[in-house]
């Protein structure tokens, strides 16, 4: 995903409310929308471009690992155990004699799949919770907010260990189990942000006008409230994507995440750390890739938030 796509996701919905204003004033000083302003800010931000490039490379790696390496990450020869770099095995070999570079490149795919799918799941749950609690208020809000409180009463990793342990089956590679675990446990922050954004925008005049014109709650939410509260929600999800990737690695590291034949940075780190005295590269490279991926998504979210935050203007 290159940069225009990353932005349109945020830009498109927010443009709608600005539409009529733009159409009415056809003069030369066309008012800029919030997203337009943000985009101009973002273009000048170096951190934004660094993270966009990093994200693009990682997504490319996840989609077509063969672009980066022609070696098979599962073709391991014990004779190569802890061998140094040779030929295309730039990072040497690990304890099992597997090509560390190939394994690291192929590890991107599971991280990205789990990260994106679990974040989408968390986003959907958070969206419904936040919209319902924020729009209806009253007892709906009270019940839903207590539900969020209960979820927050469980320290994240502890809950994830128990849940993931429960969901993962004997034979599977654990991708589905980890995705469900992370999705079901991490939606609370997204729901809270959505809720407060909805409460802020539901009292605006245009929502009152829509209601007076006889719009149904569904239409009000979908056409008026949602587009105006989605920006901060998407920022939270971008950052969540980064932390979910880190959590997947942590769970895999502990042995309750991906398992069996799955290739994951977390598993690589866990396997390499007892042999750190003998061979450092199998430990260092997956760590660097993992940290860079997480950092890229968090920086991206941070940069977008700064651009959208009017207080910093």
């Amino acid at each position: 995903m290159s940069d225009p796509n990353a932005i349109t996701a945020v830009e498109a919905p927010s443009l709608q409310p600005a539409g009529p204003r733009g159409r009415r004033g056809k003069s030369s000083d066309k008012p800029r929308s919030l997203a337009g302003d943000a985009w101009i800010d973002l273009r000048r931000n170096k951190i934004f471009w660094v993270s966009v490039v990093l994200v693009a490379v990682i997504l490319l790696m996840a989609a077509w690992p063969t672009l980066f390496t022609s070696a098979d990450p599962r073709a391991c020869t014990l004779a190569n155990q802890h061998g140094g770099a040779t030929g295309t095995a730039y990072f040497g070999y690990d304890f099992q004699g597997c090509d560390v570079f190939a394994k690291t490149v192929y590890g991107a795919r599971n991280s990205i799949i789990v990260g994106i799918m679990s974040t989408l799941l968390a986003g959907v749950i958070g969206l419904f919770f936040g919209l319902a609690a924020g729009y209806f208020g009253g007892w709906v809000d009270a019940v839903l907010s207590r539900g969020v409180d209960i979820m927050l009463g469980i320290p994240f990793l502890l809950g994830a260990i128990v849940l993931s342990n429960r969901l993962v089956t004997e034979k599977s590679d654990g991708v589905l189990a980890v995705t469900l675990t992370l999705g079901l446990l991490t939606w609370t922050s997204a729901a809270r942000v959505m809720r407060s954004a909805v409460i802020a925008s539901k009292n605006q005049d245009y929502v009152a006008a829509g209601r007076m014109l006889g719009a149904t709650p569904y239409r009000l939410m979908a056409r008026h409230i949602l587009p105006n509260s989605i920006a901060s929600f998407i920022v939270v999800l971008t950052i969540l994507l980064g932390t979910n990737i880190a959590s997947e690695a942590t769970l895999s590291f502990l042995g309750v995440g991906l398992k069996n034949d799955a290739i994951s940075w977390g598993i690589s780190i866990s396997e390499a750390s007892p042999y750190a005295r003998v061979a450092t590269e199998p430990l260092v490279w997956p760590s660097i890739f993992l940290a860079a991926t997480v950092l890229a998504f968090i920086m991206l979210g941070d940069a977008i938030r700064d651009a959208f935050d009017p207080k910093l203007r």
């Binding site: 469980i154 502890l158 260990i161």
Partner: protein, 308 residues
């Protein structure tokens, strides 16, 4: 204040039952065959099966089972692990070193975060401020599974500055490197919150008044401003505790510290379900209680909270 305490206690009771119920349901709901899991590879005779079913209340309804679990939890009876040891005894063995590690981590993190946070707030927009902001971003993004093994590799093994592993009765020096790793989990947020709140307070009227009275800049910042700025940082301790518990599992596993986290990590590997649940339940309760205390402390420090 009294009304606030009552309201907060009622909320806590609800959260407590909700959270323990979720943990219980996740673990024990529709298990395949817990008795076979208990027996491992060996076949179970019918009479053994009956006796065990009776003993673990497996023929009772789900809610009754939850009742027994709660009763055990509240009376300190956490059951026995698959290896036959009493879980409460294992916990009693494990917690001192973990508490030592966590306290050390909290103290280190708070000291660095508050000092650096105040300095970057004073010199807002300067070089130190920008460098710290980028540094906190990097630390924030660094997963503990990356930080812990790399720190052990670089500072423990390659450079040899710190002992790479620790024992049960480890000295503070042995625990320093793991505590630094653990503390880095919370240092970034603490630093950012300190900085923001100091920046806000520097503009406050009372600062101008204090300066006008002729107090030195140093006294105004480190006494008047800091005291007011630390209130939001205090609340972070409660939230951070959850992060520290999670981080301790990885950190103790890597550095071989036989604390609570180490036991959980080992129980996961040996698939010792009762041990994981017993330890996790206790940690959840500690987390809830500490958060309650922190909220009450916050209300005592900042009267505005009570009337929210």
């Amino acid at each position: 204040m009294f009304r606030y305490i009552v309201r907060r206690l009622l909320q806590m009771v609800l959260t407590f039952f909700g959270a323990t119920f979720v943990v219980f349901a996740l673990t024990f709901a529709n298990q395949d065959d817990p008795l076979q899991a208990l027996a491992g590879e060996r076949p179970i005779t019918e009479s053994q099966r009956l006796a065990l079913t009776e003993r673990y209340h497996l023929n009772e309804s789900f809610l009754t089972q939850y009742w027994y679990y709660m009763k055990g939890l509240l009376t300190g009876d956490l059951g026995t692990s698959l290896t036959g040891q009493k879980i409460s005894a294992m916990l009693a063995n494990a917690w001192p070193v973990t508490v030592k590690l966590a306290l050390l981590a909290i103290v280190i993190a708070a000291t660095i975060a508050v000092t650096a946070g105040v300095y970057s707030a004073i010199k807002r927009g300067g070089l130190f401020d920008n460098v710290t902001l980028i540094a906190t971003l990097v630390v924030l993004a660094m997963p503990i599974v990356v930080l812990a093994p790399l720190a052990q590799l670089i500072f423990g093994i390659k450079l040899g500055w710190f002992p790479p592993t620790a024992t049960r009765d480890a000295s503070l020096w042995d625990l320093l490197l793991p505590a630094l790793v653990l503390g880095s989990l919370v240092i970034a947020t603490e630093l950012r919150v300190t900085r923001t709140s100091v920046v806000e307070n520097l503009r406050a009227d009372y600062v101008r008044t204090a300066r006008a009275k002729g107090l030195t800049r140093r006294r105004v910042i480190w006494v008047h401003v800091l005291r007011n700025s630390l209130i939001p940082v205090v609340t972070l301790i409660g939230v951070d505790l959850g992060g520290l518990m999670s981080g301790a599992i990885v950190t103790e596993k890597i550095f071989n510290i036989p604390g609570v986290g180490f036991n959980i990590a080992r129980a996961i590997t040996t698939e010792d379900g009762p041990l994981v649940v017993g330890f996790v339940s206790v940690l959840v309760i500690i987390f809830l209680v500490v958060n309650l205390l922190v909220d009450l402390l916050y209300a005592a420090l900042d009267p505005r909270i009570r009337y929210e």
